[in-house]
């Protein structure tokens, strides 16, 4: 359903504008090394969400925020709110079920079934509306934290 042709023309143009910006950038996408992960069954995995989720008593994401927030794996979903700025995405499913955006229950089930090695005790959330090239330091920092936590792999979930 999210083919650009199905968005409002203004929204589609905005998305294409973002695409053009990515295309014009001097970032060398091909220079990123290929890493062979551990087998899934042995991998501890963290979720990285761009949905601007955070705990109610955390600082809310600012417009243009390049930072990140921590979401404990055992969080009570009632503790989370979402300070994403865009109005042009569907919130009704998220309002019914956190897992449609942050699948913490599904991850736990896959770990219990032995399909993945384990779930990180901490997940990470950023504000995806901020220009993606501004996340270099945050990316480094999240990677460092993941290594410290003994996490092998990150599963990225956009919104």
């Amino acid at each position: 359903m999210v083919r650009l042709s199905e968005l409002h023309p203004e929204e589609a143009e905005h998305m294409l504008g973002r695409a053009a910006l990515l295309k014009r950038s001097s970032f060398d996408f091909d220079a990123t090394p290929w890493i062979m992960p551990k087998p899934l069954r042995e991998s501890t995995i963290a979720l990285i969400s761009t949905a601007a989720l955070h705990r109610r008593d955390d600082p809310a994401f600012r417009f243009g925020d390049t930072g990140y927030r921590l979401i404990p794996n055992d969080i009570d979903p009632a503790e989370l709110v979402q300070s994403h700025i865009s109005v042009n995405f569907d919130r009704t499913h998220y309002q019914r079920d956190l897992n449609v955006v942050l699948p913490i229950d599904r991850m736990r089930e896959l770990a219990e079934a032995g399909e993945i090695g384990g779930v990180s005790p901490i997940h990470f959330s950023i504000l995806g509306a901020t220009e993606s090239f501004l996340f270099e330091r945050t990316g480094e920092e999240i990677a460092r934290r993941l290594h410290d936590l003994g996490v092998d792999t990150a599963m990225l979930v956009p919104v």
């Binding site: 359903m1 999210v2 650009l4 968005l7 998305m15 294409l16 504008g17 990515l22 970032f27 996408f29 990123t32 090394p33 890493i35 992960p37 087998p39 899934l40 991998s43 809310a60 600012r62 417009f63 243009g64 009570d76 989370l80 979402q82 700025i85 865009s86 109005v87 042009n88 995405f89 569907d90 919130r91 009704t92 499913h93 309002q95 019914r96 897992n99 449609v100 955006v101 229950d105 599904r106 399909e115 993606s132 996340f135 945050t138 990316g139 480094e140 999240i142 990677a143 460092r144 993941l146 290594h147 996490v151 092998d152 792999t153 990150a154 599963m155 990225l156 979930v157 956009p158 919104v159």
Partner: protein, 278 residues
């Protein structure tokens, strides 16, 4: 992009992709493109089997990919069946603008039992983005009505003092609107076993069938009448494309500016990090 920064620091990634065009350009190592609406990366609420299948499909790429890959997820989300299918089962009076405050409070009163029912059953509410506690929804109403009636974008209206508002003005207005929308939306999707409306149907209901929608449009007019053009960015973040009186919700862009640079130029001001320009 975050996947590049993680990979460059030794963390392999797999990702769900919603905008295929972006993923193609950024050449992420492993991506599962899903044909779902924005905001629903796992497809659909309250369907663990479907969500698990999406998640598994994205994770499986970690075992199977040997070079950068974008795989297409083959199933559409099993949701309500598109636009124009849903209708609200809670009857609200016709939207009324002569007394915004009384009309919105009337709507809130009619929706409250359903909101409470949804909150009880789901064990959560997403109301609280602006900093209010769910039981302070009355203050959100006061806030939105005051802004809609012209109290300006620089200070908290006296009638809305009290809650621990967590965003600076002007952007607080955008999050207060979101909180009241969340209250309405959680209420009208409270019935178990029914499919939630499509995004377009939900926007249509809010903007065409509720006084809250009229108040949001009134805030849009306050923005249009304000001398500070940077507020237009906030209107674009509050009123979805296709719902602003036949025109682009973001308004006319200043000459020589595209939407992204306009957003960028207004960001510090809207985030309360800059004094008012006038």
């Amino acid at each position: 992009m975050i996947s590049h920064y993680l990979q460059r620091n030794g963390i392999p990634t797999t990702t769900i992709s919603l905008i295929r065009e972006h993923t193609e350009i950024t050449r992420q190592p492993r991506a599962l493109w899903v044909p779902f609406p924005l905001g629903r990366p796992l497809g659909v609420a309250d369907d663990p089997d479907f969500q698990r299948d999406v998640l598994r499909s994205a994770l499986r790429l970690l075992d199977t990919a040997t070079k950068p890959v974008i795989e297409d997820y083959p199933h559409d989300a099993p949701d309500g069946g598109g636009d124009g299918v849903w209708s609200c089962s809670i009857m609200l009076p016709e939207p009324e603008v002569s007394d915004l405050e009384a009309a919105i409070r009337g709507e809130v009163d009619l929706l409250t039992p359903w909101y409470e029912e949804a909150r009880r059953r789901r064990g959560r509410t997403t109301v609280g983005i602006s900093g209010v506690k769910p039981e302070e929804i009355d203050k959100v109403v006061s806030f939105i009505v005051a802004i809609a009636e012209g109290s300006g974008f620089q200070q908290i209206p006296v009638s809305a003092e009290g809650p621990n508002w967590r965003h600076p003005l002007p952007m607080l207005v955008r999050f207060a609107v979101e909180d009241l929308r969340a209250f309405y939306q959680e209420a009208v999707t409270s019935q178990e076993g029914t499919k939630p409306p499509s995004q377009h149907d939900m926007h249509s209901w809010i903007f065409n069938r509720t006084t809250l929608g009229r108040a949001i449009m009134a805030i849009g007019h306050q923005i249009a009448d304000n001398e500070d053009r940077r507020l237009m960015t906030m209107r674009g973040l509050m009123i979805p494309e296709g719902f602003w009186e036949g025109e682009v919700s973001w308004g006319e862009l200043p000459p020589g500016m595209d939407r992204l640079s306009f957003i960028k130029s207004s960001r510090a001001y809207l985030a309360g990090e800059e004094a008012e320009a006038r």
